[in-house]
C-alpha cells in the first residue's frame, strides 16, 4: 500500500467517524426534545383507561379527551368542567392586548427611531429595561393598586396589567424595525411634499409590515402565555384564562391526566403555531445588535 492510499484510508475513516458522530448526536437531540412532547400528545389522544396500563405506545387512538374538555360526550366531568370559557377569555383578552400594544408601540417606536426630541434616549432605554425586567417585582403593587382602583376581577384590569409586559416589548422591537428603513426614502417623500403622517402611512408602514405583524403576533403570545397577572388579579371562574385553567386541573387531588394533557395540547397550539410563523423575525430582534457584528 502506497503513501497515498494510507492517507486516503485515514481520511475516509475520520470522515466516517464524523458522520456517525453527527447522526448519533442528531438522534440524541431528537429524543431529548421529543420525549416529553410525545408523552403529552399520546396521552391527549388515547382512551383514558389506557393511561393506567403504563404502555409507552398506544393501542388505540381516541379524541374523547379532546372532546371532553370542550364539554362533549363525557357525563362525569369534574375538575374545571370545560376549558371553553377559558379559551374564549384568553383569546379576546390577548387580542385586545395585542391591538393596543401594537398601535401604541408603532407610534412610540417610530418616534424613538426617527424623531429628535429631548429625553428620547432615556425613553428608549426605559422601554428595554421595562421589557427585560421580571414582572414579579411589580406583582405586589399591581395587586394592591388594582384593588384600590377596582380593577381586580375585571378584564380591563387584566388587560392593563398585561400591557405593562407587552408594551415595552412592542416599543423596543418596533423601534428596531423602523431603524432598519433607510432614512433617504423618507426624506425623498418629505421633499415631494408629503407630511409626517402621509410619509408614515405611504412609505414606512408598507416597508415595515412584516416587522409590525411579527411584533403584534408576539405580543399576542406574551399575553396568552402569562400566568402571574391572571393568577393574582382574577378569582372568578367565568373570567379566568386558559393558563389558570391548566393550573386548576393540576391542583386536583386526583389529576385527570388525559384532560390535563388534552387541555395543554389545545392551549399550546395557538402560541406555538404563531411562534413558528414569526420565529425568524423574533430571532433577529433582541440580540440583533450583537449578531450584526
Amino acid at each position: 500500500m502506497g503513501f497515498k492510499e494510507v492517507n486516503w484510508l485515514k481520511r475516509s475513516t475520520s470522515f466516517l467517524l464524523k458522520r456517525i458522530a453527527i447522526y448519533v448526536s442528531a438522534i440524541i437531540v431528537f429524543i431529548w426534545t421529543a420525549l416529553p412532547l410525545y408523552w403529552m400528545i399520546i396521552t391527549a389522544f388515547r382512551p383514558e383507561k389506557e393511561i393506567y396500563e403504563g404502555l409507552v405506545i398506544p393501542r388505540q387512538i381516541s379524541i374523547a379527551s379532546i372532546l371532553a374538555i370542550f364539554g362533549f360526550g363525557e357525563e362525569h366531568i369534574t375538575v374545571g368542567s370545560t376549558i371553553t370559557p377559558y379559551i374564549i377569555n384568553s383569546t379576546y383578552i390577548s387580542i385586545i392586548v395585542m391591538v393596543v400594544s401594537t398601535v401604541l408601540g408603532v407610534l412610540g417606536g417610530y418616534a424613538l427611531a426617527r424623531m429628535r426630541f429631548p429625553g428620547k434616549d432615556i425613553l428608549s432605554s426605559m422601554s428595554l429595561f421595562a421589557y427585560v425586567f421580571p414582572t414579579v417585582v411589580i406583582m405586589v403593587p399591581i395587586f394592591y393598586l388594582f384593588s384600590m382602583w377596582k380593577l381586580v376581577n375585571s378584564p380591563t384590569g387584566l388587560i392593563l396589567a398585561l400591557l405593562s409586559h407587552t408594551l415595552p416589548y412592542t416599543l423596543w422591537m418596533l423601534r428596531g424595525f423602523f431603524q432598519t428603513i433607510p432614512v433617504d426614502i423618507e426624506e425623498a417623500a418629505f421633499i415631494d411634499g408629503c407630511n409626517r403622517i402621509k410619509t408614515i402611512i405611504r412609505i414606512v408602514f408598507p416597508l415595515s409590515t412584516p416587522g409590525i405583524v411579527a411584533t403584534a403576533t408576539y405580543a399576542f403570545i406574551l399575553a396568552w402565555n402569562n400566568v402571574l397577572f391572571p393568577l393574582i388579579l382574577i378569582s372568578r371562574t367565568d373570567l379566568q384564562v386558559v393558563s389558570i385553567g391548566i393550573l386548576n386541573y393540576m391542583k386536583a387531588d386526583f389529576v385527570p391526566w388525559d384532560r390535563l394533557m388534552a387541555a395543554s395540547f389545545i392551549a399550546t397550539l395557538p402560541p406555538t403555531l404563531l411562534f413558528f410563523a414569526i420565529q425568524r423575525y423574533i430571532v433577529a430582534g433582541l440580540t440583533a445588535g450583537a449578531v450584526k457584528r
Binding site: 458522520r19 437531540v29 431528537f30 426534545t33 421529543a34 420525549l35 416529553p36 412532547l37 403529552m40 396521552t43 393511561i51 393506567y52 403504563g54 408601540g105 407610534l107 412610540g108 417610530y110 418616534a111 424623531m115 429628535r116 426630541f117 429631548p118 425613553l123 432605554s125 429595561f129 421595562a130 427585560v132 425586567f133 421580571p134 414579579v136 417585582v137 406583582m139 405586589v140 403593587p141 399591581i142 395587586f143 394592591y144 393598586l145 392593563l160 405593562s164 408594551l167 415595552p168 402565555n225 400566568v227 391548566i246 393550573l247 386541573y249 393540576m250 389529576v255 391526566w257 390535563l260 392551549a267 399550546t268 402560541p271 406555538t272 411562534f275 413558528f276 420565529q279 430571532v283 450583537a290
Partner: protein
C-alpha cells in the same frame, strides 16, 4: 429652529400615549413597591410607617436567605447547562446532514410552548407511577424515582428549565455561527490547527458578544421566572424550591404581608439592574 421644535413636539405627541400608559401600569407601581416597603401593611388593614423594619425582618428570615441561595444556585446551574448544550446543539445544526431541517424544527419547539404547558407536561412526565420517565427507567434498569420529591426536585426543575431554554441559546448561536467567515476555518486547517484549537480561537471569539447577551438575558429571566416552579412544586416539598419569586408570592398572598413582600421585591432590583446595565452596555458597543 422652528422645524426642530415642531419635530420635538411631534416626537412627544407620538410617544406620550405609550409612556403615559406605562407610567400608570409599570413605573408608578414600581415606585409604589419601594414606598410600601417602608410600611407595615396587611391586606385589609391600615398601613403603618415602620422604617426599615420590613427589610430587617426578611434579612433575618432564614427562608428568605435560603430563597436567595436557591434562586442563585438554580439560575447559575441552569444557565450553564443551557449555554453548553445550546452551543453543542448549534454546532450540530451548523453541519450538513440528512433530516437536519426537521430535527432542527423539533429542537426549537420548546421555545414556542408556553411555560405553563411545559410545567403541565413535566408534571405528567415525572409522575411516579404513570409518568414516561419512570416507565422507561423501570423497563431498562428496574428503578423508579420521585422526581419532584425532596432528593431530586432541584435537579428536576433545572432539567425542566434547561429543556425549555436550550432553543433560545441554540438559535441565537446558530445565527452568530453563520456570520463567521468559512475562510478563517480553511486557513486555520491549512496551518494545521486542530478542531479544538479552531473552536477556541475562531468559533468562541466569533460569537462571544451573542454569548454574553444571551447568557445575561437568560440569567435575568431564569432568576425572575415564576411559572414552571409554581405549577410544578408551589415552592415545595417543604421550602426546597422556594425561589425568590415564590417567596414574594407567598409573603403577599399566603401570609398577606404586603410590606415584607414589597421589601423582598425591592431587594432583588439591584441584581436585575446590574445585569440589564451590562446588556445595554454590550448592545451599545
Amino acid at each position: 429652529m422652528r422645524l426642530k421644535i415642531r419635530e420635538a413636539l411631534e416626537g412627544y405627541a407620538f410617544s406620550t400615549p405609550a409612556f403615559l400608559l406605562l407610567f400608570l401600569v409599570l413605573f408608578f407601581p414600581f415606585a409604589y413597591v419601594i414606598y410600601i416597603s417602608f410600611f407595615s401593611k396587611t391586606f385589609g388593614y391600615e398601613a403603618v410607617y415602620s422604617g426599615l423594619n420590613n427589610y430587617m425582618m426578611i434579612i433575618r428570615d432564614p427562608v428568605f436567605s435560603y430563597s436567595i441561595y436557591i434562586s442563585t444556585l438554580y439560575t447559575v446551574i441552569a444557565v450553564l447547562f443551557k449555554l453548553i448544550l445550546g452551543l453543542a446543539f448549534a454546532i450540530l445544526f451548523a453541519q450538513e446532514f440528512r433530516g437536519r431541517s426537521i430535527v432542527r424544527t423539533i429542537a426549537v419547539i420548546p421555545w414556542g410552548i408556553p411555560l405553563f404547558v411545559v410545567a403541565a407536561i413535566f408534571f405528567w412526565f415525572f409522575d411516579y407511577n404513570l409518568g414516561l420517565l419512570n416507565i422507561i427507567l423501570k423497563s431498562l434498569f428496574g428503578v423508579k424515582y420521585f422526581w419532584l420529591g425532596p432528593d431530586l426536585v432541584i435537579p428536576s426543575i433545572i432539567y425542566v428549565n434547561v429543556w425549555k431554554g436550550i432553543p433560545f441559546f441554540m438559535v441565537n448561536f446558530l445565527g452568530a455561527l453563520q456570520t463567521i467567515p468559512r475562510s478563517l476555518y480553511e486557513a486555520a486547517e491549512i496551518d494545521g490547527a486542530s478542531a479544538w484549537q479552531r473552536f477556541m480561537h475562531i468559533t468562541i471569539p466569533g460569537i462571544k458578544y451573542v454569548m454574553l447577551i444571551v447568557c445575561l438575558l437568560s440569567t435575568i429571566w431564569t432568576f425572575g421566572e415564576f411559572d414552571t416552579i409554581f405549577f410544578l412544586t408551589r415552592g415545595g416539598p417543604g421550602y426546597l424550591t422556594h425561589i425568590v419569586p415564590i417567596y414574594i408570592y407567598h409573603q403577599a398572598f399566603s401570609n398577606f404581608n404586603v410590606g415584607t413582600a414589597a421589601a423582598a421585591s425591592v431587594i432583588t432590583v439591584p441584581i436585575f439592574l446590574a445585569l440589564i446595565s451590562v446588556i445595554l452596555w454590550a448592545l451599545r458597543r
